[in-house]
């Protein structure tokens, strides 16, 4: 199969050679996977800046509720009269922050960027199976980003029912201003987003299955590709369910249907809807929502596997166990969604079932964490900025994963559900780990993307400021959560019992602002290095994988001559019997050399 794919890809490449590229086909409507990857990255970074900035604004309100900050009026206008944030705007900010970070940054920005960049390069393909679908996938994403940003400026404000947009709150414009035009645009944006994501995922799956070069068997694939491949499968199976949830919600909003609505009187008005159930929406939403966590996390773990192995100068420990744990996590992720719904009124028997399946995820997760740590053991660790972020990821993955054992347990979830304990848990295990994986990926593959090197010292500074403030923001939230403080509260000043948590809220906000500003170092380093960074050598990290056998200058079709042929797995680092501490995958086995 690999042979055939090889020839086919080569033919396809020849067809392409007569193309002349102009500005539009090269930079805008590009069908080249490397350019599309960069487009995803830049768009994701732009959205990320908005998302992070929003969190800094609402952290101001949480630390000093009701106080006047002129900066709030500057950015929020009528939503912050005299510099005091309106409660509706607070809810809008947390909603859009969540939506942007989960979908636009950590799904499209992370998986979109690196799946596109790395799948063809690491499996030895000229490009994605369908360049055109790939282009469409980006432009659907770009359009959805535009709609989401536009929704911030509508008269009644952006969507503000929380990133999960549970109906009836999100279905009824009378229930809150944010459920008006802003919510409609949110749904339109997400529909476009899902369409783009599906096109991308299908392409990734087909490419990995069909276009691997000669010798690149599934068990020689780098773990990055395994992660992207399984992520794409998760996306294809779960995003359509969210799409149907969104479509039904649109019908309830616009066509007077009652999928999620029944027996409602809102703002003094009795609605005619009858027979629907919001719990149906919750099931549909979380059927995507939980796999989504792994759609975000798996690519970050894949990147980390690659970066940790390369920079420990050691094979990844337990390659097959790592693949097995990816598959186990992916499988389990489809049968645990109910743990978001223990107290929704779902039949209590289901609570037991979902507790059982949920806690099982800890087993493959523990295997991954231990394998990363063992990979460091007796390594020769090269502390590139990417390596720092990868070690940071292992730390946050462990710290955040452990609290999942509390939250996944239905009996314990009763009392910590929707408190800051949850906020701490998912930000550490999913938010931080994934964003660290994304940073690791950018630092590691920047030379591949832009042919230049990023500044190392700024990378170090960026990492340490980010790492310290990340723990500073989210670790204390465990304690406010266990004190019973609910999330999505505009202010906790209405409850004297929470008065003694205010000092912690101030500490968290300080770290949040510090950590947010530290990201400017990264942005600066990124753009400065893009234009002024030193020219990259072909294989700057002395890595084994195929992407480093391509020329530094991007060419359409990736390899100037024939496609490379693969003779070994991706992790022959420091293998005895070789002079160098790395052996590129294209190197044939020596006489008598054992494959891994």
């Amino acid at each position: 199969m690999a042979d055939h794919a090889h020839d086919h890809a080569h033919d396809a490449h020849d067809d392409h050679e007569h193309h002349t590229e102009n500005f539009w086909t090269k930079y805008v409507f590009s069908m080249d996977h490397k350019m599309i990857g960069k487009q995803f990255l830049i768009t994701g970074m732009f959205m990320g800046l908005i998302g992070v900035f929003m969190s800094m604004l609402f952290r101001l309100q949480l630390a000093w509720p009701g106080e006047s900050f002129p900066i709030l009026e500057t950015f929020l206008g009528k939503w912050a009269p005299d510099g005091v944030m309106d409660p509706n705007m607070y809810l809008a900010l947390v909603t859009i922050h969540g939506t942007i970070m989960v979908f636009f940054v950590l799904t499209a920005g992370l998986s979109g960027t690196f799946s596109n960049l790395l799948i063809p390069l690491q499996i030895g393909a000229r490009d994605m199976a369908s360049g055109f679908l790939n282009m469409l996938s980006y432009w659907f994403f770009a359009a959805s980003s535009v709609v989401m940003v536009v929704s911030l400026f509508v008269e009644t404000g952006p969507a503000s029912g929380g990133w999960t947009v549970y109906p009836p709150l999100s279905a009824l414009p009378q229930a809150m201003p944010g459920s008006g035009a802003g919510m409609t645009l949110w749904l339109v944006s997400m529909t476009l987003f899902i369409a783009g994501s599906l096109l991308g995922s299908l392409n990734y799956i087909v490419t990995v299955i069909n276009l691997r070069t000669k010798g690149m068997s599934m068990t020689r694939l780098p773990l990055t590709i395994w992660a992207f491949f399984v992520t794409a499968i998760l996306g294809v199976l779960s995003f359509p369910v969210l799409l149907s949830a969104a479509l039904l919600l649109m019908m309830d909003r616009m066509l007077g249907t009652s999928f999620y609505l029944s027996d409602i009187m809102v703002a003094g008005e009795l609605l005619g809807n009858q027979g629907g159930s919001p719990v149906l929406y919750e099931h549909l939403f979380w059927f995507l929502g939980h796999p989504e966590v792994y759609i975000i996390l798996l690519p970050a773990l894949g990147i980390t596997s690659e970066v940790i192995a390369t920079n420990s100068r050691k094979p990844i420990f337990g390659y097959r166990a790592m693949i097995g744990s990816i598959l186990a996590i992916a499988f389990l992720s489809f049968i645990v969604w109910g743990h978001h719904m223990f107290v929704t009124g779902m039949n209590p028997f289901l609570g037991s079932v979902f507790t059982f399946t949920t806690l099982l995820i800890a087993i493959p997760s523990a295997v991954k964490a231990f394998n990363y740590i063992t990979t460091l053991w007796k390594g020769n660790i090269q502390f590139t900025p990417a390596m720092l972020f990868s070690i940071g990821l292992v730390s946050t993955f462990v710290a955040g994963g452990l609290t999942g054992i509390i939250l996944g347990d239905s009996a314990l979830d009763i009392n910590v559900h929707d408190t800051y304990f949850v906020v701490a848990h998912f930000h550490i295990v999913m938010g931080l780990s994934a964003i660290f994986g994304m940073f690791a990926g950018v630092y590691h593959w920047f030379p591949k993307m832009y042919g230049r090197m990023m500044n190392k010292s700024m990378g170090y500074l960026h990492f340490w400021l980010t790492f310290v403030s990340a723990y500073g923001v989210f670790f204390p939230m465990h304690f406010t959560g266990l004190a019973g403080l609910p999330r999505r509260y505009y202010s906790n000043a209405e409850f004297p019992i929470f008065d003694e948590l205010q000092d912690i809220n101030v500490i968290i906000t300080m770290f949040a602002i510090g950590g947010g500003i530290a990201q400017l170092i990264f942005i600066f380093n990124f753009f400065y290095s893009m234009w002024r960074g030193p020219k990259a050598p072909q294989n700057p990290w002395k890595s084994n994988t195929l992407e480093w056998t391509t020329p530094v200058e991007h060419i359409h079709g990736n390899w100037p001559g024939a496609l490379p042929e693969v003779h070994r797995w991706a992790y022959d680092y420091s293998k005895p019997g070789h002079d160098e501490d790395f052996v590129v995958q294209t190197t044939p086995l020596k006489d008598g050399e054992q494959a891994h």
């Binding site: 549970y166 201003p177 719990v279 166990a321 009124g345 020769n380 239905s410 004297p496 680092y573």
Partner: protein, 337 residues
């Protein structure tokens, strides 16, 4: 002003980079190359961070544990707290073992140009151990968790529980006691009219003795079955002191049952609570706010609109006699409508 600061910041950064670049040129090595010096510095920073993480973790435990909710005021809450404590010991043990190992390895195996890593690709026995051991620990937690959950959700009481309806709407709570027959009369949003704010069916004989109240009073030691309704959007009835929570969903009735075990008056005497109230009142006095006395509360814990953050109700747990006295003062639906 902000603009000037920004411009200056960018210029400083540019100058810094020039310095990095010039100094690395002077060393005849590209800036991006990782030197032994870098590995040494970053390795030590990793070790330092690991130590810092542990120190701050224990510092937070020591100084912030007192902020947690006081002891449970319900029967099943004690089971939940036991399970919580055991799970917490397990995960904290993991945390303080695994994190130091990670940062210790990062420091210990920091790179040096004269070293080579050990080629070590897998070890089935080791991997078997760290699959089986977590599996066994989790098996215990799963079984313990599932039994606690079914005990909580399907409580077996000798006494018939007293039924109270909790009704949620943007942005307040209303309670309805089932009265002497302990049965709630039928109610639906379509029947809401004037003073009949809960939409109770007055033709239903069961509703005549129901009592609508704006505060919840519970007799200590008597099981109570809450039945939740919502008028508009999803709310969540969160009673953290009783380790109780259930969503209120428009179009359906949900329920949660528990037995309060400590009266409000007793809880106010509890040493932990006394300390908490004193700390809170120190803060409030400093800000010139009125003094606070400890009360059980019901909060909304599912985003429900602009005033979600202030949707609360007091819960009073008292002796049977006090409760009966309070209840007698409340008007029945028949008297009210």
């Amino acid at each position: 002003m902000t603009l000037i600061v920004l411009v200056l910041a960018v210029l400083t950064a540019l100058q810094l980079i020039r310095i990095f670049e010039l100094s690395s040129k002077a060393r005849k090595r590209a800036e991006y190359e990782i030197t032994d010096q870098d590995n040494n510095n970053q390795g030590w920073l990793m070790l330092l961070f690991g130590i810092g993480l542990m120190v701050s973790f224990f510092w937070m435990l020591a100084s912030w544990s007192k902020l947690m909710l006081p002891k449970s005021a319900s029967e099943h809450g004690n089971d939940i707290d036991n399970l919580f404590n055991i799970s917490m010991y397990v995960i904290m043990a993991m945390f303080v073992v695994v994190q130091p190992i990670l940062f210790y390895f990062a420091w210990k195996y920091r790179g040096a140009s004269n070293r080579k890593a050990t080629y070590y690709e897998h070890n089935n026995r080791l991997e078997f151990i760290w699959t089986i051991v977590p599996a066994l620990v989790l098996a215990v937690l799963i079984i313990y968790g599932m039994t606690t959950w079914s005990k909580t959700m399907n409580p077996k009481n000798e006494q018939e529980p007293m039924v109270i309806e909790l009704y949620a709407q943007q942005f307040k709570w209303t309670a309805r006691y089932a009265g002497t027959d302990n049965k709630l009369g039928f109610a639906n949003v379509r029947l809401i009219k004037d003073a009949n704010v809960l939409g109770v069916d007055t033709l239903d004989a069961l509703s005549a003795d129901d009592k609508v109240t704006t505060e919840i009073h519970l007799p200590v030691g008597r099981p109570v079955l809450f039945r939740f309704r919502s008028q508009d959007v999803i709310h969540s009835a969160y009673m953290p002191h009783f380790r109780a929570q259930m969503n209120c969903v428009p179009g359906m009735t949900t329920q949660f049952q528990f037995t309060p075990t400590v009266t409000t008056a007793e809880m106010r005497q509890d040493a932990e609570v006394v300390g908490k109230v004193k700390r809170i009142n120190d803060i409030r006095t400093a800000k010139g706010e009125e003094a606070y006395a400890y009360d059980y509360i019901l909060l909304c814990n599912k985003i429900c609109g602009s005033a979600h953050y202030n949707m609360q109700m007091n819960i009073v747990v008292e002796t049977e006699a006090e409760y009966q006295k309070w209840l007698a003062e409340q008007k029945t639906i028949a008297e009210l409508l």
